[in-house]
C-alpha cells in the first residue's frame, strides 16, 4: 500500500484549502490557499480531509444478531428531510463495523464546487476523502481544536475510546494550521469515504491474462502435434461428451425414429393375413404352393390343381370371407382382400 505524502484539508470558510505534508505519520503544515491551482505537488498520494463545518459523519447502531439488516451501498441511512433532502446531498457508501453503521455526507453544490476539482486534478493519486473525525489518532485526555473560520469543533476520545467530535464555542483566536503536529490515522478502511472506488486493473493484470490465453493456445498447438497428448485429449473430450458430432440433427432424429420404431406393433395387414391362414385346415395348407401379401392388403394363395375339392369345401363353409377363386391349367388361385 502506498504511503500518504500529503493531506489536504477542505473547509467551508476561507482559506478553503490547507495543505500539510505527512512525515512518519505526523502531519506538518505547508501552506493555505483559496485556489486549488496554487497547490502544485510532485507525485503526491493525497488524503482529503473534510472540515466538520462542510460534512457530517453519521453513526447509528444496528443489531447484527438478527441478520435482517443488510447494508445497501446506494442507500442513504440518515434521511432527515427537515434538515436537507437526500437529492441535495452527496453521500458515501455506508460502512458497517462493530454493530455500527457509519456514513458521510455533504451538500451536493459544495461537493461539486470544492471536491470535484480535487478529484479531477489528482484522480488516481487520492487515498481517500474522509472526515476530520476519522483522520487522526487522538490520545487520552487530548482535546484537538479544529477551526473552520470562526467555527470550532472539538475532537477527543469518548468513554469507549473512539474518536468523537463536538461543536465548541466560536473561537476568537482562529488557527489555520490546526492539523499541524497531529498523528495520522492510517487505518481508515472502516471509515466512510466519499472517494468512489473504481475498479483498478493494472497493466500486469492485462499482461498476465494475455499470457494465460497465449499459453493455452500454444499448448493446444503443441498437444495437437504430440500423438500421446492428442490421444489423451481426444479420449478426455469423448468421455466428457464434448466431441463434435457431424450432422447432430440427423443423429438425434435417427435415434428418435429408431426408439419410436422399437415400440411399433406389426401392421394390421400382417395380423389379418396370419389370422386368415390359420382358418385353413392342415390338409389344404399342405397343398399350398405360394402365398403373397401385397401393400394394398390383397392376399393371393396358390394351390396345386388337386386341391380343388378341399378348396370348395373350405369356401362353402366360409362364405362370409368373400374369397375369389381363379383356376388355371397348373394351379388354383385364391384371392382375398383383407
Amino acid at each position: 500500500m502506498k504511503n500518504i505524502t500529503h493531506l489536504l484539508r477542505v473547509k467551508k470558510n476561507n482559506p478553503i484549502y490547507e495543505l500539510y505534508e505527512v512525515k512518519d505519520s505526523k502531519v506538518l503544515f505547508l501552506e493555505e490557499t483559496n485556489n486549488l491551482i496554487n497547490i502544485d505537488l510532485d507525485n503526491p498520494f493525497l488524503r482529503v480531509v473534510l472540515s466538520t463545518s462542510l460534512c457530517v459523519e453519521g453513526e447509528r447502531h444496528f443489531e447484527e444478531k438478527r441478520k435482517q439488516f443488510k447494508v445497501i451501498n446506494d442507500q442513504f441511512y440518515f434521511n432527515h428531510q427537515i434538515i436537507s433532502n437526500e437529492k441535495d446531498l452527496v453521500f458515501s457508501k455506508p460502512k458497517a463495523f462493530q454493530n455500527k453503521l457509519r456514513q458521510l455526507w455533504m451538500n451536493k453544490d459544495e461537493y461539486n464546487k470544492l471536491i470535484v476539482p480535487i478529484i479531477e486534478k489528482y484522480n488516481k493519486k487520492l487515498e481517500s476523502i474522509i472526515s476530520e473525525k476519522s483522520s487522526f489518532i487522538v490520545n487520552q485526555n487530548q482535546v484537538i481544536k479544529l477551526f473552520d473560520g470562526k467555527n470550532l469543533s472539538l475532537l477527543r476520545l469518548n468513554e469507549k475510546g473512539l474518536n468523537e467530535i463536538s461543536i465548541g464555542q466560536n473561537g476568537q483566536n482562529i488557527n489555520n494550521n490546526c492539523f499541524h503536529g497531529l498523528l495520522l490515522n492510517i487505518e481508515t478502511r472502516n471509515s466512510p469515504n466519499l472517494k468512489t472506488e473504481k475498479l483498478k486493473i493494472n497493466f500486469s493484470s492485462h499482461l498476465t491474462l494475455f499470457l494465460f490465453f497465449l499459453i493455452i493456445n500454444i499448448f493446444i498447438f503443441y498437444a495437437n502435434n504430440n500423438p500421446i497428448y492428442s490421444l489423451k485429449i481426444n479420449y478426455f473430450l469423448t468421455e466428457m461428451k464434448m466431441n463434435k458430432i457431424k450432422n447432430p440433427d440427423k443423429v438425434i432424429e435417427l435415434e428418435e425414429l429408431l426408439r419410436f420404431n422399437l415400440n411399433t406393433q406389426l401392421p394390421d395387414e400382417f395380423n389379418l393375413f396370419n389370422g386368415f391362414i390359420n382358418l385353413f385346415p392342415d390338409k389344404l395348407l399342405s397343398r399350398l404352393e405360394e402365398s403373397q401379401l401385397s401393400d394394398g392388403g390383397t392376399v393371393k394363395l396358390r394351390f396345386d390343381t388337386n386341391a380343388m375339392k378341399e378348396i370348395l369345401s373350405f369356401t362353402n363353409s366360409n362364405n362370409d370371407l368373400n374369397i375369389k377363386i381363379k383356376t388355371f391349367d397348373d394351379y388354383i388361385l385364391l384371392i382375398k382382400e383383407l
Binding site: I201, H206, I216, N224, I252, E256, E290, S291
Partner: protein, 146 residues
C-alpha cells in the same frame, strides 16, 4: 453528453480492455480447441452425443441400412445387414438394391420366425414392406421393401 461519454470511456478504459481480452481470448481458445480437437459445447451437440451413445447400442446392420444411402453401401455393409437379419442361421438372405428398393430374397430353415424377421425390417426408418411372397416348395421368401 458526448463529453460525459468520452470521460466515462476514458475512466473505464482499462476495465473494458481487460474484459475484451477475456472475451477475445476465450473465443480464440474455444475456436482453437474446436478446430484442433473437435470440441463442441453446444446443447445440440450434447444431445447428439447422447443420441449417438444410444445409437451405438443398436445392431450395426440396422444402423448401416438406416444411415447410409443405398448407393453408398459397400459389399461389406450389405454383409453386415444380412448378418443382422439372419438370426442364428435360421435363414439365408440376399439383398438386391434396385432404384431405391430393397428386394430381399431369403431361404428359410428350421425354426424360422417370419414375424421376428418382419419386426426387424419394420425398425428401419422411412421404409415400408410393399410385397411379401412365400414359396413353400423352394422355402423361399421374397420381400420388396422401399
Amino acid at each position: 453528453m458526448m463529453h460525459n461519454f468520452k470521460k466515462a470511456l476514458k475512466d473505464n478504459l482499462n476495465v473494458y480492455v481487460f474484459i475484451s481480452i477475456i472475451i477475445v481470448g476465450s473465443i480464440i481458445s474455444y475456436l482453437n480447441l474446436s478446430i484442433t480437437f473437435n470440441l463442441s459445447l453446444s446443447s445440440k451437440n450434447q444431445k447428439a452425443v447422447i443420441a449417438q451413445d444410444k445409437l451405438n447400442k443398436f445392431p450395426e446392420g440396422l444402423l448401416l441400412v438406416s444411415q447410409k444411402h443405398q448407393n453408398k453401401l459397400t459389399e461389406n455393409d450389405t454383409q453386415n445387414i444380412v448378418n443382422w437379419l439372419d438370426d442364428k442361421g435360421k435363414s439365408k438372405s440376399k439383398i438386391n438394391l434396385n432404384n431405391n428398393r430393397f428386394i430381399i430374397s431369403l431361404n428359410y430353415f428350421k425354426d424360422f420366425d417370419l414375424a421376428n424377421y418382419i419386426k426387424k425390417l419394420l425398425l428401419i426408418p422411412n421404409k415400408k414392406i410393399q410385397n411379401l411372397e412365400i414359396k413353400n416348395k423352394e422355402k423361399l421368401i421374397t420381400i420388396e421393401f422401399f
